[in-house]
Symmetry: C2
Subunit: 198 residues, 2 copies
Amino acid sequence: MTEAPSSAAPWREPLARARHAHDKAGLEDYLQLATIRPDGTPANRTVVFRGFLEHPDRLLCAADTRSEKVEQLHRNPAVELCWYFPRSREQFRVRGTATVIEAGHPDAAMLVTRDTVWLGLSGSVRVQFAWPDPGGLREDPAVFDIPAPAKASPPAEFCLIVVEPERVDHLQLRPFPHERHVYERDGAGVWAVTAVNP
Amino acid sequence: MTEAPSSAAPWREPLARARHAHDKAGLEDYLQLATIRPDGTPANRTVVFRGFLEHPDRLLCAADTRSEKVEQLHRNPAVELCWYFPRSREQFRVRGTATVIEAGHPDAAMLVTRDTVWLGLSGSVRVQFAWPDPGGLREDPAVFDIPAPAKASPPAEFCLIVVEPERVDHLQLRPFPHERHVYERDGAGVWAVTAVNP
C-alpha cells in the first residue's frame, strides 16, 4: 500500500485506503475527468491516475496533445474528477484546475516529472503516442503496427495533466446512513473538513 | 441478459453486451454524469442507471430534487455520461440533453415512468428522499432513522433524469490496436456509425 505522506492533505489518507482496497482487482487507477468543450457543454471520459505530486497535493494523468481533452484544458482549465470505488462503495469528487505539461514547458521540475511518468509507461501505452491522429477516420490496421517510441525521451505528443484540487467530496455508501465529508482548501493552502448530509 | 430491442439505436447492442459481462459482479449500472455548474465549471458524479425508454432511446436515472445536479440541469441540460466497464475494458461516452421529470410534469406518460422507477427502488434507497437536505451540515444520526416513504406514490423530492443521446463514443481497449466507433444521430433521428482512430 502506498500510504499518504504525513504532511499530505487530509483527504489523501481515505483515498489511499480506497485505492488499496481495489489494487488486487486492478480497479484502483481508473477515474473520470469532466471538462468543458469550446461550445460550453460538458465532456467526460475515463483517465488513468499516474501518481501524486506533493506540496501542494496534485494528481497526475498522461494525455496525448492531439486529444480533445488537451485542447479543452488549454481553453478552460476547470475540471472535476470523479473516482468511484465499487468494492468499498465510496466516491471521491475532486474539483480543481488542470495544467498541461508539454515539451518545452518553462518549469524544469515539471518537465522532469513528465520524463519520469513517461519512463513508467509500458510499450503498449507508449506506442499509442505514435499512432495516427486520435478521432480521425479509422486508418488501416497496418499503420498501427509500429515500434513504441523509445523510453529515453518522450515524444512531442506526450503530455501530463496536473490537477490541483480545491475541493474534495468524499461519499461513503457502505455505512447507513451514508457518510459524506467535504474538504476545502483556503487561500493559504490549508485544508478544512466538514461533515455534511449525504 | 436484457437484450436491446431490434428497433433500438445501433449502440444499444454493444452496450447491452458490456452490461451483461458485468452484471454478476454488480458493476453494470454505475456511470458518471458530467454537468455544468452555474459558475460555468464542470461537475461530475456517479449515478445509477435505471433503464431505457424507447423511441427514441433514452437513459433513466433517479435523483433528489434538492441535489445540485438537478439545479444544474434546470439551468443547463447539456450532459455527458461516461460508462466504463473494467472487465471488458471498454467505455461508452454518451453526449446529450437531460430532462428532469418532477411531480406535476405536464407529460402524463413521463409521470407514469416516474412512478414505475420509484416502485422498483429498495427501501434503503427510498428512505434517502426523506433524509435531511443533501449537502447541509451533518445532522444527528437519529434524524436519518425514519421509515422509507411508501411505494404507493413517490414523494415530491423524487425525480427522474432522462438523457436523450445525440452522440455515443464507444472505445474498446481489449483489441490491439484499440477499436473506436462514433454513433451520431441526425435531425431525423437516424443513427450513423463511423470507425475512428482510438
